[in-house]
Symmetry: C2
């Protein structure tokens, strides 16, 4: 009789967003006259920009003519896109990354989830806490995380690096040495980032200890601060210790288009085996290339017009985040993030994350995301996002300010 | 120091298509006046049909307007596509498959490669020989296949089921009991298929022994024979033992569009754990849905006009395959396939597969694929495909006929 991968059975249910949806639906049904504003979403809401739409139409027409039809794409991506990325995202910043070190894919989520496959089964992983759940979950499925303790919400064989107000959301070097270190910068959900100096500490550590940094830079486009690097390859030494994941989702609104890329420098080796060769083999065996139309859409993001258009959208979301950050701060909340990120992270003070969720829903009709859903150190925090409309964002902030003033329900 | 997944190092180099490319390039350089015809390709050559192009343009326009923009897709696919598939590919044939048993993905290659993840690490796999290499390679990467013997081209822990002229390309039930049985019907590369009665033997066997059939039906659209089933769910009992992979690549020319789906019936369980839940969890954790535009393109394949247009393309490729089959048979070659498949499989007689490759290249300027590249039992065979133009296909066949008559070079 066949057997299943028992590691899947260890995964606790992922109820965060479904619980939110249920609570919101129940509240709306009981109060049909109330206008609920959703600032819990991590999805973009603005449409694709004209330059991208144009590129899609053009590529579609090419696919409809025998002379310009494109069948199987090269496994690792079309040269036109890989070269555009190398030039714009790396060489312009002085980073020594070549086009053939870039692997185009259907998104950062797939790559972040699949990357663990090329490492040994007994690899020890370290993650920031709170964090995007895919890093841990994909390692649970591969059997690397030990046992789950429901009370603490932690796995016995995972090294957690708390990122809280107490340490300024800068993870400390772990006491036990990990093999793989997941860093998400700017961070989801806290909205905070690391400076060049802070990241240099990690690059040096990884090179010294023989660890690999899995650097998720999906929110790179939101960086404003001069001292926050746009890529880990701005840091000397990163070519021998870091893999970087990038996404078009939050920069160009590609959440429903699906395009991302991963950089594996050829200098990153385990003894004499380059990880580049392993990831190429994985792509070649289990993936068949990103669609031609999507790769042309991605290329359009780098055109002068495309870049201007998508950066206007990023600015729109950032303005929302700023409105939330400034408004809540003014009202007396303790807030973080919102500068290099679409996310604002706030303290829920005497309430738990879920109590604060219920409180906001009932007294302000505003929906956010309980921080505890992103890991144990997220307890006592709450995430609001800049992905709503400007008008709704302003209104939600006014309601939170008013609530703070009246202390509604408290 | 971090360590790699050593299983990757066990994979022998995949030189088949690169060796072919090198040999062809060298020949062309030495004989620049010769017109080489390529019938080795497994990629489609006709452009996307008008109904699909229209759907892509329409979906692109929707993505450019806030009111109709689509962000993250549902992990398992949009209902509009899942319901269309359930209705057209299953219910119309009397098969009891529901929309929520269909998982939309970026292609059958990804799904065939990833499906092994949900099974136990010590699962024993069985494959037809010769066969599409992804089944074995993805299990090598997961450490299930034991050691490779370069001389025989086999793995110590894989059960091979030879499919040759001697057994009519119908695999025999294996002596050792496998946990997972990969069946590709119609088969790549042999172009042969199984009848309902032949497939029933496998479904009964899998149910009796507690094995899972991983049924790759990527070439379903090419089936002509009345007694060859279009889906394994036409066979009674398949709901408790079979997962089916389907693709839009060879049916609708989507090799560069990337869309496929996998059917996991809810009745397929290991004790009380439905595999449906495990595959859903894998999709939810490591995949972010197929692009909206591609899913609308897939839907268009099922419209009256779209279906007529794509089936005309399938008929075009099948006519080519028939031209090859009939022409070579007439000339005295021993040929197989070509009826329920775009592939024709022929005996190379006193030559090895590679000798025959060199012979055809030199004396007929025709490129095909050596059968030995698909597994040890492919030795002595050769694959030609119907994916070229009709005119080139006719000319290639004339050359092969002439070669047979003159015995050029022999």
């Amino acid at each position: 009789m066949f057997k299943i991968n028992e590691n899947y059975q260890k995964l606790p249910g992922s109820y965060l967003f479904s619980t939110i949806a249920k609570k919101v639906a129940a509240y709306q049904q009981a109060h049909p006259d109330k206008k609920i504003i959703r600032l819990g979403i991590g999805d973009v809401t603005l449409p694709l920009v004209p330059a991208v739409i144009q590129a899609i139409h053009k590529a579609a027409d090419e696919m409809g003519q025998a002379e310009t039809f494109h069948g199987y794409a090269p496994d690792l991506g079309y040269s036109f896109l890989r070269e555009t990325i190398a030039e714009n995202d790396y060489k312009k910043l002085g980073c020594d990354i070549e086009a053939d070190e870039i692997f185009v894919s259907d998104g950062a989520k797939s790559d972040c989830g699949n990357i663990q496959e090329i490492f040994s089964e007994d690899s020890r992983i370290a993650v920031c806490d709170p964090v995007y759940p895919v890093y841990v979950d994909s390692n649970v499925m591969a059997g690397r995380t030990g046992e789950y303790d429901a009370e603490s919400g932690t796995w016995s064989n995972v090294i957690y690096m708390p990122c809280t107000a107490e340490n300024g959301f800068v993870p400390e070097l772990p006491k036990e040495t990990p093999d793989l270190i997941y860093l998400c910068v700017p961070n989801n959900p806290t909205g905070t980032a690391l400076t060049r100096d802070q990241l240099k500490v990690w690059v040096d550590y990884a090179n010294r200890e023989g660890a690999v940094i899995l650097y998720d830079a999906a929110y790179e486009a939101y960086i404003s601060d001069e001292d926050v690097p746009h890529t880990i390859y701005e840091i000397e030494g990163a070519r021998t210790c870091a893999i970087e994941f990038r996404s078009f989702s939050k920069k160009a609104g590609f959440t429903g288009v699906r395009l991302g890329f991963t950089v594996v420098p050829k200098d990153l080796k385990c003894k004499d085996v380059p990880l580049h060769a392993l990831w190429a083999r994985r792509h070649g065996t289990k993936f068949n290339g990103a669609p031609y139309i999507e790769q042309r859409a991605g290329e359009a993001v780098y055109s002068e017009e495309g870049n201007r258009q998508v950066m206007e959208q990023v600015a729109y979301y950032k303005r929302n985040a700023r409105v939330i950050y400034d408004g809540l701060k003014e009202a007396g909340y303790t807030v973080f993030g919102g500068v290099n990120s679409p996310y604002v992270w706030l303290k829920t003070e005497e309430m738990t994350s879920w109590e604060f969720f219920d409180y906001l829903l009932e007294y302000a009709n505003v929906v956010g995301t309980p921080g505890s859903g992103f890991g144990p150190s997220g307890e006592g925090y709450f995430r609001l996002t800049g992905f709503g409309t400007y008008e709704n964002t302003v209104e939600a902030v006014e309601r939170l300010k008013a609530l703070r003033k009246t202390g509604g329900g408290r």
